[in-house]
Symmetry: C2
Subunit: 590 residues, 2 copies
């Protein structure tokens, strides 16, 4: 048997120098360990996803080809599988193939070109790559026969996907005809809710059905709003999992018998998330969600040259969860939580913010908003005297002003101190309906929870309170009060207006979002749908219709905000993140 | 001969109700005029571009199919060519064909499915559509034979494009074999610099080569950052242009002899813009640029329910040109120009802003920044006492603060008054190198000049001064002073720091941008390139290298800002607008 290395590396889009140095250092380490084969993820040399950069900046491709020669120079006595963008040199074709080069003793002895090109959601392969029409050849190393699959090539098993198979051909079948001993899948597959369950079942079934070993090497890293979880692994000819690399971390795994340590997954990640019904039990996905976000924060900061974060602490759920996540990702000494109360802010909120910061041990202080707010109000009121045109009956000016001045303070702090990024604390439910202020709470250098709905966020907060070394850092009072921005007072009650009063119950809203994203529901479907919320809280048809209409109208107005959202990590099955979903500002959806 | 209508309509993505009502009203009007055929643009029923909305929101497709039946009901005695997304109903294919239905007497008598699917720049056809493998059939109406091309299908003439032809097949050739009398091209083709010249030459040469009439019907409208110019037309069998519809406006053109009025183009639009060399003479593209932006503003505002704009007037070039464009697009009564001087602002700038507003006749007043700025400074300084970590040697805090408070004022005004949008005044040169403030001058509901470089902007300002009814509205002093944000003082000179001091000469920067975008130049190419700027201003190699390095470093840091840019209209051949160019924030390009 050959000694094999699964080089589960992280790459940077277009950074040929960094990527090739990492590849070479892995090859050297593999040689030191007398390995026969070292396997890298899909497109490991050019980085994935690259967006359009290698289409516009030709020098990236030139550097890539030179780097491939340099890598070849390191392959004496070893075989390296390196993913790269291979020019087609045919103007009638797309400019590149998505290829894996098998390099041995200075020479490329085999090239496998990706045949199935995903072009949905976060994937845009067909924008750059030509789908290969040829069946790749298997190759032999020390009498063992190997066949290569490039990511999606392994995802069209007709008996597994049945009517959901997206392509006419199955590249696995075509490889199997050549009787390989082992299939090698070089991938860049981001972590999404439920995806591990599907991958595990699929790979295992392929290994078992065809009686082959199955090696999967996946990128570990964060790029362009996506967390790549790594979790490379090997299945034996019975379909049994016999080795698994780390999750949400780079890894370098050596095996001489195709077996090895089975690293643990985040809790629940191997479970199927039922996608037939919406439910408020997010348990199976909380640990993965947590680790995915932590990993994203850490990588995004590191790769962009930041190591500190500053965020506003309102004493509410969103900013509290963000603070915990940032503290765990960057270290508590590197997080500044700022309380910026206005006169509307309750004492309870002020105390909650402080208590949270103390529990976490992050840096904390208060900046009262009063003086700037007063000065700005006087300035604005005098300017409003000069504008003679139709006013809103209930303008949102003063609510938004508080949020905007707070963000101005956070950005100012980040402008003053080195390597410090301000944080946008908006959650997914709010983003959907635009319940966040432009240049206010939705503004920042990174948005950690922009793909976590409010109901899931409550579950995540409980999870954090129970599962971190320090228990209950998020005060119970934060978890028990109704969410709201504390930006305006209801004149009738004298209390701050809570979010559900202005919008609709979050349980209802989150269920709409779930069915729109996962089932493609439209207005009629939603009206006819029996909401989980309704089973507990009977509501009239008028009420239901009002909320559903509100959802459509508010999201229409929110699309502009989706377009200017800071980078954030995708964690759900589907999202409104521009990396996977594009809706023109001028559009109508219902 | 048949009486033909070119229905050059505007559509809204996903808004089946609005689009189908417009289509039906055109069919009725065509019937009233005893027309035989009425031709609509590509995908006219579902709207173009739709982004991902019809993939996620299935109800849009359901509504579209019902609307098609309704439209068919209107076709007694007339033939309508309607573009729609046709479900493939085959999970192994992409979900839709990009099709044109020929509907006559309640029935679809022919369907032409697009064969060449562009997937570069602003086009993403292959994300949604299956390329048709079949050669469409021509059809006969009153003994005249017609063949349909869907946009890109007409753009692969091998003798015209030579080595730049992107596809193996030429659908025009396949149609011609069936001997049609007339080719009909249903398109959604956005206006880009130089595109009219290419289209005109190509269509004319096809008509002439094959001795066929050539009818081109293009969408007129603004959607998702793109201005669709319309400019539908007919060429006769000699390749001569014999009819041309309006540019940047909807139109409804009837012809009984395939001839008609030849509407004028914007000046210079028919000229080839030389793309071998960069030059500072933008003359051939100024009128098109102007009309394209005006059209974009008008449509964006109207379709989003706005009719008024508010912008800061600094007395500088960017905001001045924006004010003229907004005034022309929305009417001077609907534009509010606000001067927001700080103590750094020169009297000259204050006067220039006022003079410009008076010349234009827009609403104008001054809001001094001093009080809020002072209050915020005190607040910030006291907060900075609480942060103990590494400071920047030269923090940008106070510069950015001015820009952010100005934007806060503009957003506040737009929150107070109905249907009023704040304007982001950043230009393309600044956007490239991030010389604009997040939540400051780059923030707004729309960015009119985000794809106009500074040197072109100077030319555009001259053009506006010479070509509008009211001459010289932009004061000469604005055109003569060196551009700069007036946000900080150079302690050595006591004067405000101008942009070229901090960055590099705009002529040099714009030439870099041009060669990167149009020639794919990398660092080495730029170093070896003899700059137009150099021929007039000899510079050392060190200086050149410093500027080029600065360009790469500053644009790397600016990518984040590109991701949160407000919607803006693309006018150049290439841009950094996310509608056509995607670069991950974590990436390296040089």
């Amino acid at each position: 048997m050959n000694k094999i290395v699964l080089a589960q590396i992280d790459t940077i889009a277009g950074d040929i120098k960094t990527n090739s140095e990492k590849i070479i250092s892995c090859i050297r380490k593999a040689k030191e360990n007398s390995a026969d084969i070292v396997i890298f993820p899909e497109l490991s040399l050019i980085g994935y996803p690259c967006g359009d950069i290698f289409m516009r900046h030709k020098s990236i491709i030139e550097k890539q080809i030179k780097a491939l020669e340099k890598i070849a120079f390191e392959t004496q006595g070893i075989t390296a599988l390196v993913g790269f963008a291979e020019p087609t040199n045919d103007s009638n074709k797309k400019p590149f193939y998505n290829s894996v080069a098998v390099i041995q003793n200075y020479k490329i002895i085999n090239i496998t070109r990706k045949r199935l090109l995903p072009n949905y959601g976060e994937f845009n392969d067909y924008r750059y790559f030509e789908p290969s029409k040829e069946v790749p050849k298997i190759f032999k190393i020390n009498s063992q026969k190997y066949g290569i699959l490039v990511c999606e090539d392994s995802f069209n098993d007709k008996s597994f996907f049945k009517n959901d198979s997206l392509y006419a051909i199955d590249p696995v079948k075509d490889l199997i005809k050549q009787r390989p001993d082992t299939l090698i899948n070089c991938s860049c597959s981001p972590s999404r809710c439920n995806k591990e369950f599907i991958k595990n079942s699929l790979f295992s079934s392929i290994a078992k059905k065809y009686k082959v070993n199955y090696i999967y090497v996946n990128q570990a890293g964060y790029a362009d709003n996506l967390s790549f979880d790594g979790t490379s692994r090997i299945y034996d000819k019975n379909g049994d999992l016999v080795l698994r690399a780390k999750t949400f971390d780079e890894d370098f795994v050596i095996t001489s018998d195709l077996k090895g340590e089975i690293n643990p997954l985040p809790n629940g990640m191997d479970k199927e998330i039922k996608i037939d019904d919406f439910e408020l039990n997010y348990n199976n996905d909380l640990d993965r969600t947590y680790k995915s976000i932590i990993f994203a924060i850490r990588e995004y900061f590191k790769k962009n040259g930041f190591d500190k974060a500053v965020l506003g602490l309102s004493g509410g759920l969103d900013s509290s969860v963000c603070a915990v996540l940032l503290s765990d990702a960057l270290g508590k000494k590197n997080v500044w939580g700022i309380s910026m109360p206005s006169k509307i802010t309750s004492n309870e909120s002020k105390n909650d913010a402080k208590l949270l910061a103390e529990n976490l041990g992050i840096n904390f202080f208060e900046i009262p908003l009063k003086d700037t707010l007063d000065a700005m109000k006087i300035t604005l009121n005098s300017s409003f005297e000069n504008v003679e045109t139709e006013k809103y009956e209930k303008p949102t000016t003063m609510e938004n002003l508080q949020a905007r001045l707070r963000a101005t303070i956070l950005w100012s702090i980040s402008n003053e101190y080195k390597r410090m990024l301000p944080i946008a604390t908006s959650d997914k439910s709010e983003a959907y309906i635009g319940y966040a202020t432009v240049n206010g709470d939705m503004s920042g250098g990174f948005a950690p929870i922009a793909d976590v709905t409010k109901t899931k966020l409550f579950a995540l907060a409980d999870f954090l309170n129970e599962n971190r070394a320090e228990k209950n850092v998020i005060p119970q009072s934060i978890l028990q009060k109704p969410p709201g921005a504390e930006l305006k007072i209801n004149p009738e009650t004298g209390k701050t207006v809570c979010a559900e009063e202005e919008n609709m119950p979050y349980e209802f809203l989150d269920e709409i979002i779930w069915f729109v994203e996962n089932r493609g529901f439209g207005f009629d479907d939603l009206i006819n749908h029996k909401f989980f919320y309704e089973s507990k809280n009977p509501i009239s048809l008028e009420q239901k219709e009002e909320w559903i209409n509100k959802f459509y109208w508010k999201s229409k107005c929110a699309v502009y905000k989706w377009h200017i959202m800071p980078p954030s990590v995708v964690v759900d099955m589907h999202s409104i993140n521009s990396v996977e979903y594009r809706q023109p500002v001028i559009s109508w959806v219902k």
